[in-house]
């Protein structure tokens, strides 16, 4: 048994060489800083450095679970779930539709939907403001011209889940559909040709060939997204609502809470605690979902 393994290793030496640069990079970039996570449990003092500083137990985590703070966790989770559902559906839909297109217009469509991804969230927040500002926003101007009334968009929290989900999709779909598109491109055309000969319509082809083949990729992308479920796009939740207090209850996430709470404090310990908290939850969730997936469809599992 051992000799077999040794033989494999010897055979795969070139493969190990291929993997090596990546591993070295990951070592320096991701693994070496990892012990720094202990900062979450310490009270950092420059004289001791990271490892010499005194322990603080779980004190740095207290603020994340304050009485008032349950809504940030609720928001973070719900928004991420909504993002996963909306973005995946739209991305898959667009990917399928685009890959069936053959005309030159396709290139135009592809480029157009990718453009929003290139804008920084700050610029996006300006653009959103251009539409939603109370006095001069284009949306209000439109409403008034249609005989309706101006709405104070930045003062009413109830609209914002929709606004944020829309903005997030607007920005992200063009990018995430690329993954699905290249996956679809890799499918064996023979399946489609055979189905066409059998008289299957486009809709049927999609339902019975494309979607099942795509399942693995969708599962994998979803699991990775689940791993980030306690994280949020800071720009989206802080810049786009323009830090308007009236919207806090609907748009605050863990990341904005940490930022607002610490403001100028630059408290390394507390922000490390937040990062740790977010990572641990994501890790557990990914482990859990991976186990589930491994039972049903081992090839789609992450590990």
């Amino acid at each position: 048994m051992k000799t077999r393994k040794l033989k494999l290793i010897k055979k795969y030496i070139p493969i190990y060489v291929m993997i090596l640069p990546g591993l070295i990079y990951l070592f320096f970039n991701n693994l070496m800083p990892l012990p720094g996570l202990v900062l979450a449990f310490k009270n950092y003092n420059a004289r001791g450095g990271i490892f010499g500083s005194p322990w603080a137990g779980l004190q740095n985590f207290k603020y994340l679970f304050a009485n008032d703070a349950w809504y940030i966790t609720r928001n973070t989770i719900l928004y991420n779930v909504a993002f996963i559902i909306v973005n995946t559906t739209l991305s898959v839909l667009v990917a399928i539709v685009l890959s069936e297109m053959t005309s030159k217009v396709k290139k135009l469509f592809q480029s157009a939907i990718l453009l929003p991804y290139l804008l920084s969230m700050v610029i996006v927040s300006y653009l959103v403001y251009g539409f939603l500002s109370t006095d001069q926003g284009l949306l209000n101007k439109l409403l008034v011209s249609l005989g309706g009334e101006s709405i104070s968009w930045y003062a009413e929290g109830k609209y914002w889940p929709f606004i944020l989900i829309f903005v997030n999709a607007w920005k992200g779909v063009g990018y995430s559909c690329i993954v699905y598109m290249s996956t679809i491109l890799g499918f064996d055309r023979a399946y489609y040709e055979a189905a066409a000969i059998d008289g299957a319509s486009k809709w049927q082809q999609i339902r019975f060939i494309t979607l099942p083949l795509l399942k693995g990729t969708v599962v994998m992308m979803t699991m990775l997204a689940i791993g980030r479920i306690f994280y949020s796009d800071f720009g989206l939740f802080y810049q786009v609502p323009r830090n308007s207090g009236a919207l806090y209850s609907m748009t605050s996430t863990i990341d904005t809470y940490v930022y607002r709470g610490l403001l100028e404090m630059a408290d390394i310990n507390m922000s490390a605690a937040a990062g740790f908290y977010q990572s641990i939850v994501g890790f557990i969730l990914v482990l859990g979902s991976n186990l589930l997936v491994r039972r049903k469809d081992p090839d789609s599992a992450l590990f």
Binding site: I19, N30, P35, I113, S120, I123, Y126, T183, I268, F303
Partner: protein
């Protein structure tokens, strides 16, 4: 061959969907474009509009006046993106291919480590300490290139699954029987079949570099000629934010006059988008190539 009705419906649906999405995507960008050509006082008075009252080239003139700074930043962005994309894509594809070998000893462990890096982050300070003290990249080009963006577990997983699902083992085994070693198998067979995924990864990594302002923000403090375009834009924004939140601290308000106005920021953003607008359509041909190759295989 006659097109069935349902296929026609599908086609119409496709075009309508994509048109709607494209217009939704582009419309705000047009707003961005028009505001970059708007006179700044008009911007403050009237807000954004598709048909501004007063057109002006003053924002672009400002850019030309500060051309050294801005075009230098442009250069930095381009070189950085090109270098990072080439090196990063190579590293990622190599690693992804390596991990696609199902019987590779240690595969599970390496995959686990990979996922671990995706989920856990040491944090800004520890990462900063590694890069500054151990690797000494602060205020150098490497400080822009190395941290975070060169390779990440997500891309590797994508490549790995692509190889697993789209490059059948039988072909590789056939080549092995013919006497090809591991490198040859990779180079002559797997690589050509992987063009779509390589293009995808290259696109992701490239966009990651192009859009990044964080590395420049953290690792470049004194060498202002290493600012990338997005970093520049972000710095302007951060400075403005700082001024606003400290507005009443004596004397801070004056500095607000030195910050480029909103219109200029819009113009810089447009500049930031242009190269991608040019490169991306050109790249799309690689996505199409895959079909022909894929169709050839038996």
């Amino acid at each position: 061959m006659l097109e069935s009705n349902s296929n026609k419906v599908f086609k119409i649906f496709s075009y309508i969907l994509m048109s709607v999405l494209s217009i939704t995507a582009i419309m705000p960008m047009l707003l961005l474009l028009t505001s970059s050509f708007t006179d700044n006082t008009t911007l403050v008075m009237n807000g954004y509009s598709f048909f501004p009252e007063k057109w002006s080239m003053e924002n672009y003139r400002y850019i030309l006046n500060n051309s050294t700074l801005i075009f230098n930043a442009y250069g930095v962005s381009i070189v950085l993106t090109a270098t990072g994309t080439i090196i990063g894509t190579a590293m990622t594809v190599l690693m992804g291919y390596g991990l696609s070998k199902k019987d590779l000893p240690g595969r599970k462990i390496i995959s686990f480590i990979l996922i671990l890096t995706l989920l856990f982050n040491g944090g800004l300070v520890p990462t900063y300490l590694v890069y500054t003290n151990v690797l000494s990249v602060k205020n150098t080009f490497w400080g822009l290139l190395l941290p975070g963006l060169l390779m990440n577990g997500f891309n590797v997983i994508l490549v790995k699954s692509y190889f697993v699902s789209s490059v059948p083992e039988e072909i590789l085994e056939a080549a092995e029987i013919d006497g090809a070693g591991e490198f040859k198998k990779f180079y002559t067979i797997a690589l050509p079949m992987a063009v779509p995924i390589i293009a995808t990864i290259a696109l992701f990594i490239g966009m990651g570099y192009w859009n990044d302002w964080n590395n420049g923000y953290v690792y470049i403090s004194t060498k202002t000629d290493l600012y990338s375009i997005q970093n520049l834009l972000n710095r302007i924004q951060q400075n403005l934010q700082f001024i606003i939140s400290n507005a009443s601290t004596s004397g801070v308000g004056q500095a607000a006059n030195d910050i480029p106005s909103e219109g200029v920021r819009m113009a810089i953003s447009i500049l930031g988008i242009l190269p991608v607008l040019i490169v991306y359509p050109w790249m799309q041909r690689f996505f199409i190539k895959g079909i022909t190759l894929g169709g050839v295989k038996g």
